[in-house]
Structures are given as C-alpha cells and as structure tokens.
Symmetry: C2
C-alpha cells in the first residue's frame, strides 16, 4: 500500500494550544512515512481545501514543527466557514472530492469546535457516500469547553489558568488600593453561551473571602438587585469586590447585558462590554470607585501562561487522531476521558462525529452554587486538574520564541474555485 | 548607638514588583540588626503613619518575606493620599513626628511615584526643620515610567513585558482569523500622561509588517483621518491591523479620546474606554470587524510574566535605600543608572527628592517616529533590555504561591488621629 497524503486544518476561534494539536498531527504523521505521505495544511481551514490552497508542511523542518507546540494562534490560518448540507451545496462537496483526488488525500483531520466537527462529519459522510476512500477524524478544540462527549476541550485549560491567575493577581492589586481608591473590579471573560471560562475564575479563591466574590454566568439569568446587593455587602465586609463576568451574561429574557441599551454619541447601539456596563451600574447605583478589564483575545492566546495539562492534551488529541486514522477508524472525534480526579488521570478516547456536531455543553446545574453567583465543590473538582502545570516557551531577548513556518503552497492542479 | 526602627510604606498605584522592593528593604534591614530594630510597614501607605497603624514585620518569617519578591500588589496596602504643605496642615506633620517619636522611628522609606516622592520630600524637610533625627529615602515605583532622574522606574519593565508578549500573542490570533473574521484588534493600555507603556508594545515587532501597526501615544495628538487611513491601508496590505492605544490618547485640544461623547442609555457620559471608542470608529467608518481588549489592572499586576530585570531592579532599589540611610544619606530617591545599552548594565544611584517630586517625564521627541504612530530605534534601544529575563513564581496546583503576611499591627501608644 503506497502512502497517501493527509489534509489537516484549523477551524473557528484559535487558542493558545491549537498549534500543539497541529504539532501532534504532523509529528505523528512523520513517524509513519510508510502510510502517510505529505501533510497538507489547509490555508484558512476548509477554505484551503475548497480553494486548493494547500500548505505543504514538508518544507518545514522538524525543529520548526516542534516549535508549534509553543506557538499560540493558528499557524496555518483558521476560518469561520460552515459547509452547507450536501443537498444545498453539492458543488462544494464535489470540489472537495476533486481536490482530495488531485492530491491523493486519504486522511482528513479537522481541528475545531462544534461547527467544525459538523464540517468534519459532513466530509466523513461525503467519503462514505462517494466511492472515494478517505478517513476523517475530528480533533477537538475550543476555549469555550462546550463540546459534548469529551471531558474537556483542549484550549480551555489554558484560558482557565489565565483567568484564575489574572484574578488572583488583580485581586491583590485591588486589595492594596481599596482603602483610598478602587473598590470594585470587574473582569470580562469569554463564553457567549457557556460559563466554563467565567467559572474558572473561582479557582483563584483560596479562602472564602478571596476573589472572585461574584461570578456572572450565562446559565444564570442576571438579577440586577441581587447583584448590586452582593457587591455592596462584599465591599462592606471584605473592603472590595472582584467580579468575573462572562460576555454571555444575560437577562431572564435571554438578551445579553452587553446589549443593554448604551448608545454612542451618534445614537448607535454601543457594541460589547459587559464589564463597562456593570461598572456603570455599580457607579450609578452604589457610587463606588471601580476599574474594569476586558481580556478578549489576550485570554485565548496567552501561551505564556498555558496549562501544561492542556498543552499535553492538545498534543495528544492530534497524535491520537493520526493513530485512529491509521487504524482505519474514521467518522469520529478524539475525546479526552477522565479516569480520576485526584490524582488526576486521563486518556484519549473517541466519539462518533454525528453525536458531537452542533451540540453545546453548558455548565451542569450541580456545578452552579445555589445563589447563582459562584460554583460548587463538584465544579472545582472538575476544574482544578485542568490548570495544573506550567509549560513555558523559550524566551529570547525577553520575548517568547515562536514558530515562523514557511507556509509554502503546493502547486495547484485544478481550475480556480470560488467558495 | 542602639538600633532605631524603620518605617516603610507603599504609595500610589501598586505594581507587579513593588513587593520586591519591600523585600529588599526588609531583608537588608534584617542584615543590619545592630543599626535597624524593627521595620514597621505603614498600613495603607502614609495613612498608616498618621493613624499609628504600624504593621510589625518582625512577626513574618524570613521565608514569608522572601516570598514578597514573587507577590504582586502591595502587601501592606497602598494609598492615594497626598500630604498638604506644612503651612496648610501642620497638624499632620506634628502627628507624624509624634508617631515617629513614640515608636523610635529613625528611618523613613517611601515607595512610590511622583506624588509619593513629594511626600517623602516633605517628611525629609520635616526632619530637617524639627529637631527630630530621621533619615528619609525615596524608593521609585511606577508602571508609568514617568519619574525623572532615574533611567527607569521599577514596575515599568514588567508591564512593558506583559504588553509586548500580549501583543505578540494576540497578533498571532488575529492573523489566523483575519481571512474570514476579525481584521482590527485594539489593545488599550495604561499611561494617562506618558506613553511609555504603549510604546513598549513596539517590542513585539520583529519584521516591519508585524504588530503593532499603530501605537497611539498621549504625546501625539490624535488625528482621526490619518488614523483611519492607516488602519485601512494596513488591513489592505497585511490583512489585519493591531493597534495599541494608551488610555491617555487625546485630541489636539487635550481632551481624552475616552471622554469623546459616548453616552449611556440614561444620557450619562460613558466612562472610559479608548479601545471601544476606537473600535466603534473603525466599525462606523471602515466597516471592519474588530475586537478590543482593555488590560487595566491585569497589566500592572501580572507578576507571572514579570521581567527578571525589573524584579532585580525593584529589589535593588529597596536594598540601596536601606544602605543609603545607614550611610547617613537622606533626602534622596534611589535611582537606576544605565551604564550601557548592549550588553545592558546598570547600577543604583541617587537624586535629591526635591528634584524628583512632582516632575513627570514623558516620551522624548526623538523616541517618537515621524508619522507619530510608532517609536524610533533609539526608543527600542532604551526599552529592549528592560523586558529581558523571566522570573517565574513557584506554582502549586496550577497557581502561583504568593506571600500571605500576618500584617500584625504593633500596639498603639497614642490617642487616635483622623487624617
């Protein structure tokens, strides 16, 4: 059996460790040269396949590929692009088959979240339906930690660590200043639909009065008066109050706090910002001095404070994807299975892509504290091991050394195609 | 000569390394037990002296004091409190003398920025004017890097490193996504009056088209059209655009961008946020998808990514302050003197408090690029060594191990006083 080529692509919002998965895929493929020829990386995700923009990773040295493990962002470009159903857009599927054929692609690895696993599933179905032999394996990735069937999503542990460390640090700052200055600090974190990232802020708490004092989750409708009362009471008791707010925090009716009616000078709705909105509420209603921060992309790209556990798992799911494909197992996503909480142990597993695609896992009710402003011991048990360990990149002149790949496209063999 | 006690306090906005200076003071004082008795730390800065709230640091073990070097925030509490002139508030000065006498305080160390050095200067003058023997030494600290007479202010190098690393990381994220998603990313950083922190973003740039593509400094009046044109042109050429904006960015007339007219639903002026303001401008005028982050306290408390150079200097200025005082030198602030750029070398020095107090050092014109959107080679030569080296705290269970001091107050000997 002569070796066939592999296609690998990154999809959706990138993370601090998605390149560690790429590293796992490429290094493992290189170990199996008798079965896998080249690894083509899609330039900007599935678009790279549709446009026949295939990055030939064989031009990059082993050393450069190894550096991917330490490099945040998506080294080959990611995309937000969802394949329509076969019925609605057969043209794109036909194109994919053409490209796969032209470049003898026998393995398809798609690295992303819920939408991306849907794409992987559609390509797997395409392979099954057509006479073209291709093995499709999904590789999980999302800071939001909202994929089903897996204990955790690579990318999440590092954001969780970033948020927990940042809350601890900022809380020490606020505690120092509270006597004569800032009394309320609000940190806005990601998680539009699920509160996993905001929940991770709770890891910063060592004693009961430690920050964060309030966590606002998308799963719990925002109660304005209860929130204000909790802020007031915390400042009175502790001297200051630290709030971690999910960008997805919302009212009972489902509308986001971040859309709650602020307008700019031109009368446009003010975009974004749960933190400034809450800060304004605290100032207006309680008259307390505040500061707020919005971590945005900093949190999901913070490779410098990545969780070693997360990096290891991100690499492992890439490696396992290749091994599954070589064993002939397609139509699945690699998963992380937890085998024990403490001491923590885990292994990779697999789940059918059809069960993963488009399902969103939010915080289970037993992870949310009764007052709705925090999380439970069960949630802490779940979260704690995910931030364990540090995995620092090498630094040169004060800055991390990242991979700078060649990203050379392989020669096109087909006419252009406009997705 | 029997030993006399020392007073040490932290003042103004805290930093990731002000406790390293505290560590330098206390450890050095402990080495000189024959001359220095106890080190009393003011609870909440100079307020601690006025209220006779003196933390007796002798209750903390050497190991706990050593941990201060790795702990962000102000371990004894800081304050924003400026002493009026002697003429205007003799009552406070008389009280200070009373407290110093009651606790046999012969050394006064005040750790802060411009306002705080003014306080140190006033206490030094008080000592000189009265018959009370006290040696006063200022210890520099400020993330804003705006103190005169010193090459750099401890606290700045670590913020500079945080900003440079964060810009590199976020830029890799944006670069991955730009094809189908975010094209403009705006990071707001501190520096209300001086652009040093924003300037440090430029350290992220390795090749000319690397991020940051635009830096907005308080020293350069904001030109709306030139800014928008530069964003547009950068997105066209590079595919995306990363902006680092100082919170102090302002218009020609001196008004801050952050005050520029956005109002909330109640008609209140919207507080803060250069980044959201610029984002809205980019969206409205160029129709580009954007993200923005406001680092706020996260940047100045980020001990996890502190510059080793900065930590070393923060410790050194604390140590030097004690040594100067023991040599009988008062009325000065410790400084950092640069003796070479590359390889970088430095030593501590001193400057008269009267020359330091209330002077603000902004970016010199030759550090600002001709187009006003970046910095020069001279600025880079200045900045580069300040972020060199990493100095990681120890981690336990995924989180940094910080000092938790006892902060036991010594018994009061005087009637209460209300500053």
């Amino acid at each position: 059996m002569s070796p066939r080529n592999a296609f690998y692509a990154q999809s959706g919002g990138v993370t601090a460790v998605i390149n560690a998965s790429a590293c796992g895929v490429i290094e493992t493929a290189r170990e199996h040269g008798e079965r896998i020829g080249k690894v083509f990386a899609g330039k900007s995700g599935i678009l790279g396949a549709l446009r026949e923009e295939l990055i030939d990773t064989s031009h990059d040295s082993d050393a450069d590929i190894a550096l991917l493990r330490f490099t945040p962002g998506g080294a080959f470009g990611s995309c937000r692009y969802k394949l329509a159903s076969y019925e609605d857009n057969a043209r794109e599927y036909d194109r994919l088959l053409e490209v796969f054929r032209a470049h003898d692609i026998g393995f398809f690895f798609y690295n992303g979240g819920g939408d991306s696993q849907d794409t992987a599933n559609k390509v797997a179905e395409l392979g099954a339906r057509s006479d073209y032999p291709i093995t499709c394996v999904g590789i999980p990735k999302t800071v939001d930690n909202d994929l089903p069937c897996t204990d955790v999503c690579p990318g999440f542990g590092s954001v969780a660590k970033y948020v927990a460390v940042s809350v601890q640090e900022a809380a020490l700052d606020v505690a120092s200043m509270a006597e004569t200055s800032t009394k309320v600090f609000i940190l806005e974190v990601m998680g539009r639909h699920a509160g996993w990232i905001a929940a991770a802020g709770a890891l910063a708490k060592v004693t009961p009065d430690d920050a964060p004092h309030i966590i606002l989750l998308p799963e719990v409708p925002f109660r304005r008066d209860a929130f204000l009362e909790r802020v007031r009471e915390t400042v009175q008791r502790v001297g200051f109050c630290v709030v971690v707010a999910s960008e997805g925090a919302r009212y009972e009716d489902g509308s986001f706090l971040s859309e709650s009616g602020t307008v700019d000078a031109f009368g446009h709705a003010q975009l974004g910002g749960v933190a400034p909105m809450l800060a304004e509420l605290v100032r207006g209603e309680l008259g307390l001095k505040f500061h707020w921060a919005v971590a945005d992309y900093l949190q999901r790209s913070a490779r410098h404070i990545a969780s070693a556990t997360d990096v290891e798992q991100a690499y492992a799911v890439g490696k396992a994807a290749v091994e599954l494909a070589l064993a002939g197992t397609g139509g699945v996503m690699v998963t992380i299975e937890r085998t024990a909480d403490d001491p923590y142990s885990w292994r990779t597993g697999q789940a059918p892509l059809a069960e993963v695609a488009n399902v969103e896992r939010t915080l289970p009710p037993n992870y949310i504290s009764q007052d709705g402003f925090g999380i439970t011991g069960a949630a802490l048990r779940y979260l704690r091991p995910l931030i364990a360990g540090e995995d620092y990149p090498e630094y040169v002149g004060g800055l991390p050394r990242y991979a700078r790949l060649k990203n050379e496209l392989t020669l096109k063999k087909l006419p252009p195609f406009d997705p």
